[in-house]
């Protein structure tokens, strides 16, 4: 299981706690993790990635293992610690506003 940490508003939208676990079939990549997340929590469709282009929404970032993965290929393998559930995959909202 892959652990995914969501920002406050998306946790409320999906009615979940700080972290969720999703089962990923095949290679663990950003695309497969987000796909599994949206399949499990369809109300999140469009809130992290654009519905059509599947691109990251501009004010969100993706972190894991103290690395910024936001600009990595969505099909690149995620760190082994994420794939094994030792470390979470972090969806982070940009700090702004009030």
């Amino acid at each position: 299981m892959v652990r995914v940490a969501l920002p406050y508003h998306l946790r409320n939208l999906a009615r979940v706690g700080n972290e969720v676990e999703v089962e990923v079939n095949g290679p663990v990549t950003q695309r497969s993790v987000l796909g599994a997340l949206e399949a499990r929590y369809p109300m999140l469709c469009g809130t992290i990635r654009d519905h059509v282009t599947q691109k990251r929404r501009p004010f969100l970032r993706f972190f894991a293992c103290e690395q910024d993965l936001s600009h990595d290929s969505p099909d690149a393998p995620l760190p082994e610690a994420v794939a094994k559930g030792a470390e979470p995959y972090l969806v982070v909202g940009a700090i702004a506003g009030g």
Partner: protein
């Protein structure tokens, strides 16, 4: 009788309820705390069916629906934590999906006029206005930014663009105003089934007579000095339009500047600003029982979006325009520098008619006597984006 006021704000939605006296109010909310709620509106067929536009610069557009008058909410077709398919096979997660598609209109429309005069790609940003059908609680229209009209026939689960609006030919001349380029007003004609008006900043008014399939501009008589051709067919910054349901051929308009009136369903317009202290403003609405009684909230000018002289005053015309009276009893008459946005005024249908509006300072005011005097229902909400009123039996 009961009154329910649906308030959208910068930081959530609020539901205000009262009995027919409209003196004591219960306040529930914030619903969707921390999110911008551009609009909340109920179905005239099933008043407990509410639709809300929840939006965020971070997370995009969410559509919400309540089937119990605002007590509980859900995204249409997307109950939390269930598999991807509903029993009837409806794909979930589709209710937030607004995909531009002008293929039905014959040719793809990909760009509109940008601030610098160049063409710019159409990009979906948010739903500004929701208009439930007059006859079917499952059918609802959504006016969006960048300007387009969508319709759902399944209670908000899926949305389909009515592409004739963007595709009729003038789209490349539409331009955003300072607040963006959105379809902010949708009027469904109760006497002429299939007739729909929309208003767009800054494009103007458009009318369909065939249930949204084909559209044409309806801006003859408008004059906008900020345009190279002040009387051009499109490009006008119409702020809001309104009609009385018993007489939908008579349409009133608050334009960027000018109060306008059409007596022929938008085919032509004439100015009725009359003796207003300023004819700049955003909302305009019509009395529930007097089709010639209309309300506006004059704002100093297009660079200073607050009331003249720091005095918050609604202006009422009982003559369908031209002759206006100031209504300030109960409203702050000094040091008031709030604005009232285009969708933040509404009326109930009690006798006497109640008039309501919300401000960017977070106040929601109610007049239970057609505007003669006002009381604040609440004073300290986040900035109010929209106000809708339901009169319930």
């Amino acid at each position: 009788m009961k009154i329910r006021v649906l308030v959208g704000t910068r930081k959530g939605a609020f539901v205000l309820t009262s009995d027919g006296k409209r003196e004591q109010w219960d306040v529930s909310g914030p619903h969707f705390a921390g999110w911008e709620i551009y609009h909340v509106k109920g179905s005239p067929v099933d008043p407990n069916r509410l639709y809300a536009s929840q939006t965020s610069g971070w997370f995009g557009q969410i559509m919400q629906r309540s089937d119990d008058g605002g007590k509980t909410w859900h995204q249409p077709g997307t109950p939390p934590g269930e598999p991807m398919k509903t029993p009837e096979g409806m794909p979930k997660g589709e209710s937030n999906k607004f995909v531009y598609d002008t293929s039905e209109a014959g040719k793809p429309l990909t760009t509109h006029l940008w601030y610098d005069g160049t063409q710019h790609p159409w990009e979906f940003k948010r739903v500004w206005h929701i208009e439930p059908s007059l006859t079917d609680p499952e059918t609802v229209y959504a006016g969006v930014e960048d300007a387009a009209l969508f319709r759902s026939k399944d209670g908000g689960k899926t949305w389909h663009e009515l592409s004739g609006l963007r595709g009729h030919g003038t789209g490349p001349k539409w331009q955003p105003g300072a607040g963006g380029m959105g379809v902010h007003t949708i009027l469904l004609d109760p006497k002429n089934p299939g007739r729909i008006y929309v208003a767009i900043s800054a494009a103007g008014v458009f009318r369909s007579d065939d249930d949204g399939k084909t559209w044409r501009p309806a801006n003859r008589g408008l004059r906008s000095e900020f345009m190279p051709d002040p009387t051009a067919e499109v490009g006008h910054c119409v702020h809001r339009i309104a009609f009385h349901p018993s007489r939908p051929n008579v349409v009133f308009m608050q334009k960027h500047w000018d109060i306008m009136r059409s007596d022929d369903a938008g085919d032509s317009w004439r100015e009725v600003s009359g003796n207003l202290p300023t004819d700049f403003g955003f909302p305009i609405d019509v009395h529930a029982h007097e089709p010639e009684t209309i309300y506006v909230v004059p704002i100093k000018n297009d660079s200073e979006h607050f009331p003249p002289d720091g005095k918050l005053r609604v202006y009422r015309s009982r003559t369908g325009g031209n002759e206006w009276e100031a209504l300030g009893k109960g409203l702050p008459q000094k040091d008031c520098y709030v604005n009232v946005l285009r969708d933040a005024m509404s009326v109930d249908s009690l006798e006497p008619c109640g008039v309501y509006f919300g401000t960017t300072g977070g106040q929601v005011y109610c007049s239970a006597n057609g505007g003669d005097s006002w009381n604040a229902i609440v004073r300290d909400l986040p900035a109010v984006l929209s106000v809708e009123v339901q009169t319930l039996k």
